[in-house]
Symmetry: C3
Subunit: 339 residues, 3 copies
């Protein structure tokens, strides 16, 4: 792993993935981060996702688009929820899926990440969906895989989580249509959040009017403004007149460190309640990547209330992942030869 990977975990210095994500025709080949991708590419992902949204309502929720392709869920960090969405997306595209939880397998034999990749690649798999606690792992793998293999980043340290960002963009577009009129506030642990980082990139690429982050200074990166956001330290001013609120999940293990006061105090200052929601536009959309800690990040009445689109986010997550898989592997398929 490169030295930049080591330092990326708590700083906001990420590997530059812009070159590697596109093939020579300018089409998506890996999906590691929205950063430096064009508005056209992100829009195409959402357009294809739109076409897949209807598949879920069919009696037979399956299309033969990726039949005969092999997709490996390579999870170095456990996440049943995220793994399940990728597995379902792949199966609904008729791909074969192999789930590998590395924490409990090859690693115990001392096999390196690269040997694992080389071996699976030799089994002629087509795509790795990679999740890892270290920033830069998906990028490292993408730089090292064979040309015919693609990588989707399913979350790497505090770096990026591009499909989560795109399912959120897709959810926002379905509700609000036009990004250019939107003020969006992201609330919570911005410093450690790969979701926040990818959302900020995506919102700026898609031309959101204003992207705000709201957090205590201890949970903000030093160079926050450089990301293209307005910084707020309190909910009242930060929520003023916003169209969309994106809550981040608070890792409870961080609560016991020096960065945060108690859960109660956090909820008092940054928890989203119906009272706090009054500062926003009345038709505000409330989002959360889940799972929600009710009473910590937000009140149950907000999480389950009329402005919340938390469950639509989950539904849209399948369609967006189907779209990314299809854009990447569907085009390769055309290059290699039709069925």
């Amino acid at each position: 792993m490169s030295s930049s990977d080591q330092t990326a975990s708590t700083s906001f210095n990420a590997p530059d993935c812009s070159q590697i994500q596109l093939n020579e025709h300018g089409r998506l080949h890996h999906f590691l981060t929205p950063q430096n991708l064009s508005k056209d590419i992100l829009t195409e992902i959402m357009d294809v996702a739109e076409s897949f949204s209807s598949v879920a309502n069919q009696a037979v929720k399956k299309v033969p688009v990726l039949r005969g392709k092999t997709i490996v869920n390579l999870f170095f960090e456990n996440s049943t929820r995220t793994r399940t969405t990728f597995e379902l997306a792949a199966k609904r595209l008729s791909a074969d899926v192999i789930n590998i939880n590395v924490a409990t397998s090859a690693a115990s034999k001392g096999e390196s990440v690269l040997d694992t990749i080389r071996t699976l690649e030799a089994m002629q798999v087509d795509m790795f969906v990679v999740r890892h606690a270290d920033s830069g792992t998906a990028h490292f793998i993408a730089r090292n895989v064979a040309p015919h293999v693609s990588v989707i980043n399913a979350g790497d340290g505090s770096h990026a989580h591009p499909t989560q960002a795109m399912l959120d963009m897709f959810t926002i577009r379905r509700v609000k249509k036009d990004f250019s009129k939107l003020k969006v506030a992201i609330i919570g642990d911005i410093l450690h959040s790969r979701v926040a980082r990818s959302e900020i990139h995506a919102l700026n690429i898609l031309g959101a009017k204003e992207v705000r982050v709201i957090a205590p200074n201890t949970l903000l990166p030093i160079d926050a403004k450089a990301l293209g956001v307005t910084v707020f330290n309190d909910l009242e001013s930060g929520l003023d007149d916003v169209d969309v609120v994106i809550m981040l999940r608070l890792q409870r293990e961080r609560m016991h460190g020096a960065l945060l006061p108690s859960e109660n105090e956090y909820f008092d200052r940054f928890g989203l309640t119906e009272e706090k929601l009054a500062y926003t536009k009345s038709d505000v959309t409330v989002m959360h990547p889940g799972p929600i800690n009710r009473g910590v990040e937000m009140a149950a009445s907000v999480a389950d209330g009329p402005n919340s689109v938390v469950l639509q986010q989950v539904t849209n997550g399948i369609a967006v992942r189907m779209a990314v898989m299809t854009l990447i592997l569907g085009q390769n398929r055309q290059v290699v030869g039709a069925e």
Copy 2:
């Protein structure tokens, strides 16, 4: 979870699932317990299972009945054997299957059962197969899922295990044809057995001539007779003239409590041996849900002897689970629209 769920685990007070199991057309929508279902419904399950029994003998053991459906095995309690039968049943119906072992995943993030359900439901799954150590969990989930999602109870605490009961009924019917002439004895830990409870309901609904339970008083519910059974405390009188003997699995962990003497003493009093079998009808059918503790619940010579149908029970379990899945999801499919 409702308060009744808490107390249900060792009493025989179960949630009343009768309302919720049928849809507005009186067709099976969830399968939580045989209790309060009609003889017609139970008979239909066996009839459809009969038609699936031949599938297993085909060269291609697969029918496209549930293609494009997603079935989630949601196991809060580990059971490879039961999970495998549901997985095989779903795959032979061409459904997509997702296995989720909750003990090792989302629960570790503190996500509640309801949030897990809501999230999976938003991924447009069609059916949950639920196993949980607490009585009432499947019922609780069924009461809370979206209308288009169905629940099969794969065992909840000491409450119910309806597919096990129905595969036993199906096995009995194949051998004995007519329930109205049958005396059936259930032997073992009636108090804690979800299998026993569901079998008693099913046998009474199907019109068995007599249902007996044979157990020491410490392993009988206080209100045993209210279940519609004759109670016996010794094998000799209990086995007299019976047509079918259903052995229950003895949970070894119970052996170390105050409820039971030693394994040897249990086997002496309640273990089924060839000598004890002499009390029954000569063509008696011997059943056990497996896995058998040979030398505890019964002698190896009985378990593997000519009257035992233990392996047929396993085979029939696939057909019965295919039948239940098809009755529930096949009819929904017709409502939503044909392929």
Copy 3:
């Protein structure tokens, strides 16, 4: 398990599987060991594997040969790498695959191996792929399964690993064509290696000119020569003029016993370096079953160098496993009846 199984783990006394592996037509029914199989059978496996090699290069890497068949990966010993190759092979043949890791499931209920087999068999599965730490387990299961069920040994103790041996034979044949001209050296822990044993059998059956083993005496079976090999204790003489070098994986847990000096000393004496490679023929082929301990069994420059076919071995492993599954289950299918 038979008493020979107990003693087989470190001696080279293996069960005689020759009778049981073929059906009454002389066709492969189980694949437990290459020992005592004919040259024709081993050649047929490689010929069929050759035809499957092209499947991996198709846009749709899937053939419907085993549609409707159920293959159970029954792993009593964890191995993600091996399990994945069998799972991929089965899926590319369109079979349904069930993964069962016994260490974490039925065994905890005290169920015996035989009960596990009987139960799965009753679910009408077609094939078990078995891996177990005890020599003879696959053979024991093959002797006890129902006539319509087949067993592939995916590694049993120190006895056999026939698909690994055959993928190595297939890899050698693709590079070198004619076995009768080849000198092959196997280097490492011959004593404990099921891979070595199966390779020695296969090479001798296929008519290799000379099979050598190179190891310290502590890692050689007492009756090594009886296996049909030439024994060497040093690399220099053992590598002289060989065409193929097969490295074995060194189990690091063995390093702490009395059998071996330190890793460094082992590498000095038996590690394959570019200097050592100079003793061989210039077009030598270097193989390793993986995962490689670089700097222990061989230098990274050799493992990743021009003579290494380590990744081709992995690729060929899929084709060979597809071939074995097809030869066994494809012919059964014809007996039972066509689709």
